[in-house]
């Protein structure tokens, strides 16, 4: 029995748009699993079908099941799910712009009933992971930088004491250095706090470096899966997602797009 498992789910938006066509994946406890793919492949939809935020977007899981620690979670409300320890950090950060950074973090503890002292402890812990948030604790989140907002969003999720974080596109719109910094913290949280991660990313290179396992999604289907190290050396992945080919670097002028066929399409 695995920790989080998605079994053959199909997702339809607005009763007509078929987005996921039978996706199955597993996240083992204490691991980082990367969900890779291009725009519109269905990464975010997969995450939202786990966290049940889908219904608010008029999407529906029409087939398959989602199980967390052996019990089905696809009928729970997002709030119940957060209480069970699964929380999503949404794409594009979604901090509460008019609340200060500290207030943002405090809202993350909404589902937990804890004393003032415990709350203070959780805050201090988040500040220990993200020292930069501490220096900006009283500024309105809307006026902080993109990197700080991403940290705020992750920190806010941490306040709910999750076992598993669904992290959607943390690298979006951030400088490579900040991306590196954020992934380091993810790795840290994973090893020190034993938080499992399911990570949707377009930045395949970075994601595969930090993840243990990876799935590649294309057009709403899982087309490839494997250990992150294996995926990194796979010829197809290298060519189509990492921009490397067996001949090394090459000029795009000479690229003929039909030269190589994705093997999984055959």
């Amino acid at each position: 029995m695995s920790y989080l498992s998605i079994n053959n789910i199909e997702v339809i938006y607005d009763h007509v748009i078929l987005v996921l066509k039978g996706v199955s994946l597993q996240v083992p406890q204490g691991k980082i699993v990367a969900l890779l793919g291009a725009n519109g492949a269905g990464k975010s939809t997969t995450l939202k079908s786990i966290s049940n935020l889908l219904r608010a977007e008029r999407g529906d899981v029409t087939k398959g099941s989602v199980e967390f620690k052996g019990s089905r979670i696809d009928q729970l409300t997002p709030a119940d799910l957060v209480r069970q320890g699964v929380i999503q950090v949404m794409e594009g950060r979604h901090c509460f712009g008019h609340l200060s950074i500290e207030e943002n973090l405090l809202t993350g503890a909404y589902t937990r009933s804890q004393s003032r002292a415990e709350l203070k402890d959780s805050l201090d812990k988040v500040y220990a992971y993200f020292p930069r948030l501490k220096t900006r604790r009283s500024s309105q989140a809307g006026y902080t930088s993109g990197g700080e907002q991403q940290m705020c969003a992750i920190g806010r999720a941490l306040m709910a004491k999750p076992e598993m974080i669904l992290l959607d596109e943390p690298s979006m719109g951030l400088a490579p250095q900040i991306v590196e910094e954020i992934f380091e913290i993810v790795k840290d949280l994973n090893s020190k706090e034993n938080v499992s991660f399911l990570l949707a990313e377009q930045n395949t290179m970075v994601a595969l470096r930090y993840a243990d396992f990876g799935y590649i999604l294309e057009n709403g289907r899982v087309v490839m899966e494997g250990e992150a190290a294996d995926l990194r050396t796979n010829e197809d992945v290298k060519e189509f997602y990492l921009g490397l080919s067996s001949e090394g670097r090459k000029s795009f002028r000479e690229v003929k797009h039909y030269r190589r066929r994705k093997r999984w399409l055959s």
């Binding site: 935020l53 950090v89 949404m90 008019h98 943002n104 809202t107 589902t111 309105q140 993109g146």
Partner: protein, 308 residues
């Protein structure tokens, strides 16, 4: 000088009455980003329900109509009715419209206005009723005797009620967990949902609180002008107050109310004669219009934060 003070204070106090109605708007706008067009109807509904219960309760309980038990029981029942109304609104109108554009929700509240007005009049009838809070609308004798300034006891009482209500709500929003969650929901529905804030509960709380504010506003306005359909138009008076004070600020509603109240009375008395009078009715709207050009978010409203 005495006359000026009398006009000014009278204006400020009537401004507080506007603020009371504006408060209901602010609450719902803060928590759901919706301009609740039905607020005026809610004021009407609340006042009518209160008066209605006041009429039928003595018969049911076999008590005298002026006993304080009847008064408080009617108040409690009217508040309960407002809670039921709030919960029903959340279930029937808001829940199916999660994540829809704000304008959709706004349109839905316009529809809601008619439903609420209809229910209120269907249940209690459409006759104009009086409402007695036991406070007479006459000048305070002491001020009148010593300074010759006429300030109504009733106005002062209304101001006191409004001030305490505002203080209470400001504290609720700023310092409690639920208040924080309310502000979070106002900023971003989806994000609030994603960190486990149950939108439904928050909305129910907000509509119930707005219902309570509507009840208080309805009782005070009703005591002043009689409980009648015209109560729904108090909402229109709240508009310039909101624009001035800011749609998202509880203290803004009160400050906006004071400014509007004072300026409309002063304008009527000191500017009115030059233009033939009768400017009290439109002056606040002109003021709000001018204000919109200078500071569209209002005095205390939240600035639109855009990352560029």
């Amino acid at each position: 000088m005495q006359f000026f003070i009398e006009v000014l204070v009278g204006g400020l106090l009537s401004g507080v009455m506007y603020a009371l109605v504006a408060l209901g708007f602010v609450l719902i706008y803060k928590a759901s980003g919706v301009f609740n067009f039905a607020q005026g109807a809610m004021v009407f509904f609340a006042a009518l329900t209160f008066v209605g219960f006041q009429e039928v309760l003595p018969g049911w309980l076999g008590m005298a109509a002026d006993s304080s038990i009847v008064f408080w029981l009617a108040f409690l029942l009217a508040f309960l009715a407002m809670i039921v109304l709030g919960v029903a609104t959340e279930r029937i109108v808001l829940r199916p419209l999660v994540n829809q554009p704000h304008i959709t929700l706004f349109m839905a509240t316009i529809g809601l206005t008619y439903v609420i007005e209809g229910i209120a009049q269907m249940t209690w009838g459409a006759t104009v009723r009086g409402l007695d809070l036991g406070i007479v609308d006459e000048p305070i004798a002491w001020l009148m005797d010593n300074y010759e300034i006429g300030i109504s006891k009733f106005d002062l009482f209304a101001a006191g009620v409004a001030a305490s209500l505002v203080a209470l709500l400001a504290l609720l929003f700023q310092y409690t967990k639920v208040g924080r969650a309310l502000r979070a929901v106002a900023d971003d529905h989806q994000a609030a949902l994603s960190i486990g804030i149950p939108l439904q509960t928050i909305w129910r709380v907000v509509w119930a609180v707005a219902g309570f504010v509507a009840l208080v506003a309805g009782m005070i306005w009703g005591a002043r002008n009689g409980v009648q359909f015209a109560l729904t138009f108090t909402a229109l008076k709240a508009l310039p107050v909101l624009i001035l004070g800011g749609f998202t600020s509880v203290p803004g509603a009160i400050v906006g109310g004071l400014i509007i109240g004072a300026s409309e009375k002063l304008a009527e008395v000191y500017v009115g004669p030059f233009v033939g009078g009768g400017i009290e009715g439109w002056f606040p709207y002109m003021l709000a219009l001018a204000f919109l050009l200078v500071r569209p978010e209002g005095l205390f409203g939240e600035k639109h934060i855009d990352r560029v």
